[in-house]
Subunit: 118 residues, 2 copies
């Protein structure tokens, strides 16, 4: 998978939040995808559970803005960003791992209470 | 493991590079630690291999500067930084995972050719 294709997925992910576009989310994740957000909490497993998680985030009008350049390595991409949601701004780093079909098989979000500005 | 302890390890890691202090590296990693830098390349496995890897980096006078706030989640910390080495500046995101003794058991560095400024 080319670096530009991975970066494009991250750009579409940001766009999905901006437009509350669940079709993007459904298209970018693998059927057996796992989402752990934040890391250390139980993962959402499988596309339906993943989509339900993102529907919830979009109902809270979360929006994302990159705060640095994405880093591509191996089958993964890591990127720093801010989530704006209700009255909060949260600094997060996400790591996506892609499968051979170019779908996101694993998403891990790194953030904690110390990364929340309110 | 407390968030402040994890952040302290990252601060010491930056200090280790600033001072070419291998004692810090040797103290912070677990005996069975793995280091994958960048992700997608063969891991350095075990403390001696890990230390040999860092000795090489320090011989190139690599220095690190955080470019954002560290994100703590679960047993992990993720942080964005720049490496300055020879005539290059590289944007990197590292993820450390800690074991129950507070040692770094796994380090993964996310960066690729697109993240190198020369």
């Amino acid at each position: 998978m080319e670096t530009t294709d991975k970066v494009r997925v991250v750009e579409k992910y940001v766009e999905a939040f901006a437009n509350s576009d669940m079709a993007i989310i459904r298209q970018m994740f693998a059927g057996n995808a796992t989402v752990e957000d934040p890391v250390g909490t139980p993962a959402h497993e499988g596309l339906e559970a993943v989509c339900a998680f993102y529907e919830g985030a979009m109902k809270m009008n979360a929006t994302l803005a990159l705060t640095g350049t994405p880093r591509c390595a191996g089958n993964a991409i890591a990127f720093p960003f801010q989530v704006k949601m209700q009255n909060m701004v949260i600094d997060v780093i996400d790591v996506f791992e892609f499968n051979d079909e170019g779908k996101v098989a694993s998403m891990k979000a790194y953030w904690g209470p110390e990364n929340i500005q309110s």
